[in-house]
């Protein structure tokens, strides 16, 4: 394993400590330096200066004592994409320019993109729903940044961002949810509409523009101005709590009304994961989603939950290429994915249905 692979595959707390329904949550703050043009309009020299200043200030931030700093221009395409698959940076970040840098801590719970759409995009993650801890953490980083850099701020508009849809708090809070029972009982459509009506957005596994796969949905706030951070976070927390309740109720309904369908689908999925020789990523994610449901319902041991999340990371296109240290074409990836799947699921005990 090369150094990059080691950094990428180091035990992610996010996977190890994940909970049923809530897969992970995230808070992101967007900040800009007052004396420079926003990234899209800035010249190379300006971007370089922004990156240098930010790097200097962030390096002195205690939270980044054990962390990695990457110059994005030094990375191969699949290495960049693997960072997106880990949610450490965004798709937009790896496409933009040569002056971007990425900071992330060894536990993968904090990352900062320099020169994404805004000069600074700072994010913290957790494997559960606990915005208070996350906000305290990101707020401390933000205080450090504000004290040491001239951050663009206006008393009326708040933190100034390249797009007015982020202005104000510059904060986007999101929660990744695993909602198989709401999908099975076909309630998910109504839920999405209801959430949208409350001013929140529902997206797929990889945020903006991505489709829902494997029953994973990301819910985040749309509006950033006119609320205090705590208000946005407590509203989102309330919404997520109700969705968790709906999902757990729906699981009871599925167990009562569709038990044979459920056993059949979970049993077949494990069969595929154990026996496949060619596995597409969408099939893999859908099957692993059913394994997660099996753990939640007690058909597989609880200790498997973290491993399943790690497995879901590992079998993504770019992760496998990092592991193999070379570019794999589509066919090769499906074969490699099947190999990883057979190897792992051979160690998984048989299903114990009620």
């Amino acid at each position: 394993m090369n150094d990059f692979a080691k950094k990428l595959f180091q035990d992610s707390k996010l996977a190890k400590e994940t909970t049923p329904v809530v897969v992970s949550s995230r808070i992101r703050l967007a900040r800009n330096l007052a004396d420079f043009k926003f990234v899209k309009y800035a010249c190379k020299g300006d971007l370089h200066a922004v990156a240098e200043r930010c790097e200097k200030v962030l390096s002195s931030c205690p939270i980044f004592t054990n962390s990695t700093i990457l110059n994005m221009c030094d990375l191969l395409d699949y290495e960049k994409l693997a960072l997106v698959e880990r949610h450490l940076c965004s798709q937009e970040f790896i496409m933009e320019n040569n002056e971007s840098k990425l900071f992330f801590t060894d536990d993968h719970l904090t990352s900062i993109m320099i020169n994404e759409e805004d000069h600074l995009r700072m994010q913290v993650f957790r494997p559960d729903l606990n915005f208070k801890t996350m906000f305290d953490k990101i707020n401390a980083i933000d205080d450090h940044v504000s004290e040491n850099l001239n951050v663009a701020f206006d008393n009326r508009y708040g933190f100034l961002t390249a797009c007015p849809t982020n202005v104000g708090t510059g904060m986007r809070a999101s929660v990744m949810l695993h909602l198989p029972a709401l999908v099975i009982t076909k309630q998910i459509g109504n839920l999405i509409l209801a959430v949208q009506k409350l001013g929140f957005v529902v997206r797929g596994l990889f945020g903006e523009g991505s489709e829902a796969q494997g029953n994973f949905f990301q819910i985040s706030n749309q509006q950033t101005l006119g609320f205090a951070e705590v208000d946005i976070l407590s509203r989102l927390t309330q919404i997520i709590r109700s969705i968790i309740e709906y999902e757990l109720n729906a699981r009871e309904i599925v167990k009562k009304e569709k038990i044979i369908w459920l056993y059949d689908n979970i049993g077949r999925a494990l069969g595929i994961l154990r026996g496949c020789y060619c596995l597409t990523s969408i099939d893999a994610i859908n099957c692993i989603s059913l394994m997660m449901l099996a753990v939640d319902l007690g058909y597989l041991p609880n200790t498997l939950r973290g491993n399943l999340h790690q497995m879901m990371m590992k079998i993504q296109n770019s992760h496998m290429q990092v592991l193999e240290n070379r570019v794999l074409n589509g066919g090769e990836r499906d074969i490699k994915r099947a190999e990883l799947s057979r190897e792992f699921f051979a160690t998984v005990p048989n299903l114990k249905f009620d």
Binding site: K37, N139, D142, S146, N155, C163, T165, L225, A228
Partner: protein, 189 residues
């Protein structure tokens, strides 16, 4: 005969715009149409041909004069914003205020920052474990950079203008008092 919505002369140009199933009809005279970039020198309605129409009219819905704006620091215009979806620099929030206020009104919850470093200082409030606010009266955090009295006065004046325009008189009165106090304490005439 219909009258021009801008100057009252007889209207000769009628433009129907449909955005998200919402139909808007705009009537204007030749002069006003030309002034707003609807015709080029040859009199061709190039705005409509090049898709400029949409940009013009979505801006117009917010504020017509936004179309003549340009940021004095970076040169960003409402048109370049329309193309890239991004503003050029922090100063755009001042020079392209009319455009930005329109966007903010249609996409955001409010028009005034209430989060971290705002005067409400709500951010300093701590949340309890269930995510609710326990102490909304916690200490007020100041803005990241201290503003000079002059800068602060300018900002307050802008906020006052906005409040009056939006008929938020209670807020306007509060801002007026704040300006008065600040001027008094600093001896500014």
């Amino acid at each position: 005969m219909e009258k021009c919505q801008f100057c009252g002369k007889p209207a000769t140009v009628h433009m129907t715009q449909v955005i998200n199933n919402k139909t808007t009809v705009i009537r204007m005279c030749n002069e006003c149409a030309a002034k707003h970039g609807l015709f080029d020198k040859e009199g061709l309605p190039f705005a409509m041909l090049s898709g400029l129409g949409e940009a013009l009219f979505s801006g117009m819905k917010q504020n017509l004069s936004a179309n003549g704006l340009i940021c004095s620091k970076c040169g960003c215009t409402p048109m370049s914003f329309k193309e890239t979806g991004r503003l050029g620099c922090p100063h755009c929030y001042k020079d392209l205020k009319l455009l930005i206020d329109g966007i903010i009104e249609s996409s955001q919850k409010g028009t005034i920052h209430k989060g971290k470093y705002s005067r409400e200082g709500v951010m300093a409030a701590t949340m309890n474990a269930s995510g609710g606010v326990t102490d909304a009266s916690a200490s007020i955090k100041r803005s990241p950079r201290k503003l000079s009295t002059e800068e602060r006065l300018n900002e307050l004046q802008e906020m006052l203008d906005a409040a009056v325009k939006a008929e938020r008189y209670e807020e306007a009165a509060r801002l007026r008092d704040e300006i008065k106090n600040l001027k008094g304490s600093e001896g500014v005439s």
